[in-house]
């Protein structure tokens, strides 16, 4: 069974630039999550999709972050404009039942 795929693996940008991350979940997993993990902290949920509908985006900074999941499969997360405090690893996960399967993440550095 193929895992959760994410790209790019690393991204370095300057503040105020924009950036996008891509996620392909495990086939058949209806629920998709984007988490932000700042160095030394646990992952924090940004947004949760059920198929292509949003079920929780309460912690998404909507003035600069946006996410979509077209056709209920792949998803993209965008930051525009980026701030220094957005430097983190962005993890995508998908789930079947209670178990979450995570991708390896995209490490973002904002200079």
């Amino acid at each position: 069974e193929a895992g959760v795929a994410q790209s790019p693996r690393y991204k370095i940008i300057e503040k105020r630039q924009s950036v996008a991350f891509w996620c392909n979940p495990i086939s058949g997993h209806a629920t998709l999550y984007w988490y932000q993990q700042i160095l030394g902290q646990g992952p924090k949920l940004l947004i949760q999709f059920q198929n292509n509908g949003v079920v929780d985006d309460s912690q998404l900074p909507k003035d600069r972050f946006s996410a979509e999941r077209l056709k209920g499969v792949d998803s993209t997360l965008k930051i525009q404009p980026a701030k220094l405090e957005d430097s983190a690893v962005y993890l995508c996960a998908s789930s079947r039942n209670e178990k979450l399967f995570f991708g390896s993440g995209t490490q973002l550095s904002v200079l």
């Binding site: 992952p43 929780d56 993440g105």
Partner: protein, 112 residues
């Protein structure tokens, strides 16, 4: 507000030296407590789910236990390959989406 606190932040053990990691939580209506392992540069990997006080789960050298206020991850006779960050997370009843709230993790280093 649901909260998870893990201790210690870091733990160094000699190979074969057993120990325990702690996860204290406050949640309204626990719907599950989860343990994940995270290796450097990778996403968390699922280990266990516990649902009710008194429940225990085991996998190789790891055993997870749950009380009404905390969970322990016991590591028996650890090996260097057990070195990783161990994350605890809870799913509470206050959220109708069942999102996970993670602790900050315990970074374990096992020296040969």
């Amino acid at each position: 507000e649901d909260q998870v606190t893990q201790s210690p932040e870091a733990l160094r053990l000699q190979e074969g030296e057993s120990s325990s990691l702690n996860c204290s939580y406050t949640v309204s209506g626990l719907r599950g407590l989860f343990w994940y392992r995270q290796d450097p540069g990778k996403g968390p990997e699922f280990l266990f789910t516990l649902y009710s006080a008194g429940e225990e789960k085991e996998k190789e050298r790891l055993k997870a236990t749950l009380t009404k206020k905390e969970s322990f991850l016991h590591i028996t006779a650890p090996k260097p390959e057990d070195s990783a960050t161990y994350l605890c997370a809870v799913k509470g009843g206050s959220s109708n989406t069942g999102k996970l709230i993670f602790g900050q993790g315990t970074t374990l280093q096992v020296k040969p």
